[in-house]
Amino acid sequence: MSSSSSEPDGVQGLLGRSLQAIRDSVPSQYAAIVTALQHDVVQLQVDHETFSIHAQPHGLALAGAEPSAAVRLTTKSCTITALIDGTLDLIDAVLGENIALFGSVNDLLSFNEALSAYLHGAVRSSGQEAILREFRLLAERRKERE
């Protein structure tokens, strides 16, 4: 997996480390993410940080904004922590417009498969707790700045 993040401590950098941990510990789930995203580019906007995920022959690559991505997701880091803490569920987050999702039905289904594979890999791989702690600190810092 490669990354062109200019902010290694941002969401892009943390996601890159998280994906690498899955690749190292649970390669089958990493492969499942790559397979689910093989036809799509996903653009993620978390707070004011925008980046994209590409499936490539050697794995996943994180890069800069890709406005023409097949799937575009916009949310806030505090929404992600609410999902992790179980105070908000995914359906309510989407219906409540805490998460904005754009894409065709097929592309969104593929993205959902990739998300599920990512979560199954994350809960089984080592090092994720430290990454999650860093993410929480990042979310707090960004909330204070708002």
């Binding site: 190292d24 649970v26 105070t87 569920d89």
Partner: protein, 358 residues
């Protein structure tokens, strides 16, 4: 729910049967094979409160296809679930360095949390890191333990089980900054150890039944082991205690079990909270009611459990990397009616049942 039970149990007998079969500090003395698990489970029944505390040891997960060359230290999981005007609790993980277990002893420390046996009673000292949930409890056994060894879960997968179905509980539980003082409340304890993986071909149901009347001598435990699809039951039983004494065990063909309806819940509390993303929704596959009719010789007992509420512990399967096992923890009312040895059995009370669905 205080008791005038009057029964006392020889603490030596408890101590001789209930001890850690494995340890994270002496691997040479307690060799392990992959899939080893061991846990101490406690339930507290008090008016308006149900509390579950579980000190759980498990082998760490490993990268796919890479098994440890030798014995490895165990990690700890502390599970706390409290039902009182809603659900509280969480699952917290502890690295091997944070876990201390005395081999052959009956004490454990997970971080700042501890359980130990002293002066004829279990003691629990628990404080969750990320929630205002804590307890300081003393649980004194008032029934004899029963040991059930080598229960087969699936081929080459087995579990041993020590049951102490009734204890008197004193102490304090704090939920969200509010204290609940307990004096001679009721408790349940069991201790399990064995080798299996979450996701193996099994599903178990068990339940603890305690009376609400202070002078009732009856206590019971129900268990049923089946394959994952629950199309085949391997073993089932209903254990009954009369005061301190284990007086009757109905097993296998003695029991006819009926699961009625499906409990519908508007919200299901899930722990660890993060795992709700992998098991969303409110589907629990928990029956509205269990009825077990036990008969052997002239003895017969009808057991009923009505589900009131359900929470779920969500565990990543170890047999695959893309599925989970759900441990449904159900609270509700429970009763027994029948005859044992010519004596009438009548008990109205409460139960906590667990339904594993993989």
């Amino acid at each position: 729910m205080s008791l005038e039970f009057g029964a006392r149990v020889d603490a030596t007998k408890v101590r001789e049967t209930d001890y850690f079969r494995c340890s994270s500090v002496a691997p040479a003395a307690a060799p392990r094979t992959p899939g080893y698990k061991e846990w101490h489970h406690f339930i507290v029944y008090a008016p308006g409160l149900r509390l579950l505390v579980n000190f759980n040891l498990t082998e760490p997960r490993y990268a796919e296809g890479v098994l440890p060359a030798g014995p490895t230290p165990l990690t700890g999981r502390l599970i706390v679930i409290a039902e009182r005007s809603g659900w509280h609790g969480d699952l917290e993980r502890f690295s091997p360095a944070e876990v201390t277990v005395v081999p052959g002893g009956l004490s454990a420390r997970f971080g700042q949390n501890a359980m130990w046996f002293e002066d004829g009673a279990y003691h629990l000292q628990v404080q969750l890191q990320h929630q205002a949930v804590s307890c300081c409890l003393k649980l004194k056994p008032v029934t004899e333990p029963v040991l059930s060894n080598h229960i087969q879960l699936a081929p080459e997968r087995e579990l041993s089980w020590l049951i102490l179905p009734r204890l008197e509980v004193d102490g304090r539980v704090t939920l969200g900054g509010r204290d609940v003082q307990l004096r001679r409340a009721l408790g349940y304890h069991d201790h399990n150890w064995g080798r299996f993986s979450w996701g193996d071909d099994f599903a178990w149901e068990w339940g603890s039944l305690v009376p609400s009347r202070a002078d009732s001598p009856w206590t019971a435990v129900y268990v049923r082991m089946a394959n994952r699809g629950r199309s085949s039951v391997g073993t089932q039983g209903l254990f009954i205690w009369d005061r301190a004494r284990h007086c009757r065990f109905f097993r296998d063909r003695d029991l006819q079990v009926t699961l009625e309806g499906r409990k519908s819940m508007p919200v299901v509390h899930k722990i660890p909270r993060l795992m709700g993303l992998l098991a969303p929704g409110t589907c629990t596959d928990v029956p509205q009611r269990i009825v077990a009719f036990a008969q052997s010789g002239a003895d017969q007992v009808l057991m009923t459990f009505n589900t009131r509420n359900v929470s779920q512990v969500v565990i990543p399967n170890e047999t695959t990397t893309d599925s989970v096992t759900l441990l449904n923890e159900a609270t509700g009312s429970a009763d027994l009616a029948g005859t044992i040895g010519g004596r009438a059995v009548e008990m109205e009370g409460s139960g906590v049942f667990e339904f594993i669905r993989a």
